[in-house]
């Protein structure tokens, strides 16, 4: 229970670091993830991914192995179990192996970097998560995105092969719909997507990363990811998918400026599409709502702009409606449908 919530340690209440890392590595279709810990740690993540992918109507299950640490390894160390698991993984001919440590491996002091270090036929990339010992879900997610950057090829200066999408929330139910919104906006300016880093991107795809003209981050609240990629890959960057009409128009304007392309027509089309959406939900004008969960300080402005645009008032005492930083017009439509159901008492 949250008997001792400490704001300085909110990661305590997040999901597991291992889950965060797998939310990246499991989406490399020609890779194998090895979770270095008891089999239960892997089972619960396999179950979570299975459940999530079924919601995405993609019944395939990513290849995730466990080193299945038991009492013997807890006492004598688990490095040989990891060596053995890497050997088994190599027999399955992956193009990369990702080794994710757990809190059990961290507590017994296994050195996964040393086990992964020897040169093998394919890259064996350690992702030091150590389960809850090393932060929460977000930390694992960021560590994996940074760890996998060793698969990225050299940057081609002045590349214009499109936009890299970085750090999609692979476990969110509407990950594909959110991507489709961004892709639609890019298409309105004739800009293609280069690499989705990392969502169903094979290791060979990642080599094309450096051909892009821009990195677009799904989100980057602490700035950790954008700083890392700015330091290592000299590409301009935009942080955050657009929530609400103003953010969508801002994104189009920024893309126009970066790609030096005339974006006036795209802006007009986008504005018209948002106006059509507002007409579709005109029955919600005058509604008063409170948002649950409360938007983070960073999202607060977007939430206010969003409700204001649709003529909906924010009031602490009003009935609560869900808030989940809706992406683009599609996300807004899905959210407003939920609000309409609440307004009608469901």
């Amino acid at each position: 229970m949250n008997s001792k919530i400490s704001l300085s340690n909110t990661c305590r209440y997040e999901g597991c670091t291992v889950t965060g890392a797998l939310a990246v590595t499991a989406f490399v279709p020609d890779g194998i993830s090895i979770v270095h810990g008891p089999s239960g740690c892997t089972q619960h993540n396999v179950s979570l991914l299975h459940s999530t992918l079924m919601q995405h109507e993609k019944p395939s299950i990513p290849r995730i192995m466990t080193t299945a640490l038991g009492e013997r390894e807890i006492i004598f160390g688990g490095e040989s179990a990891l060596e053995k698991a890497i050997g088994i993984a190599l027999e399955r001919s992956p193009h990369a192996i990702f080794v994710i440590s757990t809190c059990v491996a961290g507590t017994i002091g296994d050195d996964i970097n040393a086990v992964c270090a020897p040169e093998r036929d394919v890259p064996v990339i350690p992702i030091d998560c150590a389960g809850f010992l090393n932060g929460g879900f977000r930390q694992g997610f960021v560590s994996a995105l940074i760890g996998l950057s060793t698969l990225i090829g050299p940057c081609a200066p002045g590349g214009d092969a499109g936009v890299n999408i970085i750090g999609e929330r692979n476990l969110e139910v509407d990950a594909e719909q959110n991507f489709a919104e961004v892709e639609r906006i890019l298409a309105s300016l004739d800009i293609p997507v280069n690499v989705r880093y990392v969502r169903n991107a094979a290791t060979a795809d990642m080599k094309r990363f450096g051909n892009a003209g821009l990195n677009l981050f799904r989100e980057d609240p602490g700035g950790l990811l954008s700083r890392f990629f700015a330091q290592n890959f000299s590409l301009p960057a935009i942080c955050g998918y657009p929530t609400g009409p103003q953010a969508a128009l801002d994104l189009i304007s920024r893309l126009g400026a970066i790609y030096k392309t005339d974006c006036r027509e795209a802006l007009r089309e986008e504005e018209a599409a948002w106006e059509a959406l507002a007409d579709d939900f005109s029955d919600l004008r005058g509604l008063a709502v409170s948002l649950a969960p409360d938007p983070s300080p960073a999202d607060g402005r977007a939430a206010r702009d969003f409700t204001e645009y649709f003529g909906i008032a924010l009031s602490r005492n009003a009935p609560a409606v869900p808030w989940s930083d809706p992406v683009g017009i599609g996300g807004a439509r899905r959210l407003l449908r939920q609000w309409r159901r609440r307004a009608h008492g469901y």
Partner: protein, 377 residues
């Protein structure tokens, strides 16, 4: 290292202990470990659970303070508290039992690396130590766990059959109050023999019609108020209905070559049912857990690698298992019987035990194998 290392599919001991203890009203269950393990277990068990949310700091400097705070916050809200010691507290070897002596706290040592769901369930019951109450009448129902989508239906079916036989229900393990746990009946019927309470004398299993008959006869011999004739007549009528439906099916179809993946008791029950009434060729049986009884065929299969290989080798025409098996072979007619069952809604409390369990699962099998619905449970 376990040889089954590719995509393990069966939960750990800690999850089994939580599934067991969360079934007792009046018992507050604290998972002494990290948030990641807690969230998964909470979603698996779907019952109130608490967590100490350990972080890296506690792994170094000790977990006692957080555990004390959590226990104190729950005191007064529960008659008793169960603390499940998860991986890291177990590894660092901190023994809070010494420093936090409380008479109304039970301690369950169930690090995830110490076994699987069934072992954790058993450890939890051992720590709780339920017992037969003096002069308590009625029959206990065993085998109920929050992780089993059929257990609520099983409990209802067991209760219905016992009432029909003129018997009352004493304690439902594990879906009961703490008081009832310590005042159980002297006789117990099993709805899932993989998870037995060990309380009272077992009268047998309610899985399958033959077992049901034998169990009823056993109950008649040890419960003076039992009148099992109405149940025996129902079993007979059930068997007739199943035989008639299977005859009709076999007029148009071959017996399905069937692969079954489930926990040992359910798999054994299903294999017997299909072989008896449908003359089915059971081409593969993979059990999630080690069977606690001799099985003529089948082997342990608790990872997707093993399960995938068994499906490929056996080429079944009908697949019985979980949504994992269905995902591995989406083209094979499928009946869901095993956790997890994702991608489909299941609102009704369906049973596997009793006559209704036999009718329900045979109906699903005939519809799936006859090509009428490959998704029906």
């Amino acid at each position: 290292m376990d040889t089954e290392c590719g995509n393990p599919v069966w939960p750990c001991a800690m999850a089994g202990a939580a599934a067991c203890l969360s079934g007792f009203d009046g018992l507050g269950v604290i998972l002494h470990g990290s948030s990641g393990c807690y969230y998964f277990t909470r979603s698996l068990v779907q019952a109130p659970l608490y967590c100490t949310y350990l972080g890296g700091e506690e792994a170094i400097f000790g977990t006692e303070e957080r555990l004390r705070a959590t226990i104190n916050a729950l005191k007064g809200r529960y008659e008793m508290i169960a603390v499940l010691l998860m991986c890291v507290p177990s590894i660092i070897g901190e023994d809070c039992r010494e420093t936090l002596p409380c008479s109304d706290v039970i301690w369950v040592d169930v690090p995830g690396y110490a076994g699987q769901l069934e072992e954790g369930y058993a450890s939890a019951l051992e720590a709780l130590a339920p017992r037969v109450g003096e002069g308590v009448s009625g029959v206990n129902i065993d085998g109920i766990a929050g992780t089993d989508r059929f257990s609520r239906g099983n409990a209802r079916e067991a209760e219905r059959l016992l009432r029909k036989a003129g018997l009352s229900v004493a304690t439902r393990f594990c879906d009961t109050t703490l008081h009832a746990a310590y005042h159980a009946g002297a006789v117990t019927v099993e709805t899932n023999p993989d998870i037995q309470s060990g309380v009272g004398t077992s009268a047998g299993s309610l899985l399958g019609l033959e077992n049901l008959k034998a169990t009823m006869r056993h109950l008649e011999s040890c419960c003076s108020t039992a009148d099992i004739d109405p149940v025996l007549r129902e079993i007979e009528a059930t068997e007739e209905a199943v035989v008639r439906a299977c005859d009709r099916f076999l007029q148009h179809n071959d017996p399905p070559a069937t692969a079954i993946f489930s926990t040992a008791s359910y798999a054994h029950f299903m294999a017997g049912l299909l072989a008896t009434y449908l003359d089915a060729d059971i081409v593969a049986v993979g059990t999630r857990n080690e069977p606690g009884f001799p099985m003529a065929f089948g082997r342990r299969a608790a990872s997707l690698d093993t399960i995938g290989a068994m499906i490929e080798e056996s080429s079944p025409a009908l697949l019985i298992g979980s949504s994992y098996e269905h995902a591995l072979a989406p083209g094979i007619p499928f009946v869901g019987m095993t956790y997890p069952l994702r991608g489909q809604y299941m609102l009704q409390h369906r049973a596997l035990a009793g006559t209704e369990g036999v009718l329900g699962i045979m109906e699903a099998v005939l519809n799936a194998a006859g090509g009428r619905s490959c998704h029906r449970i």
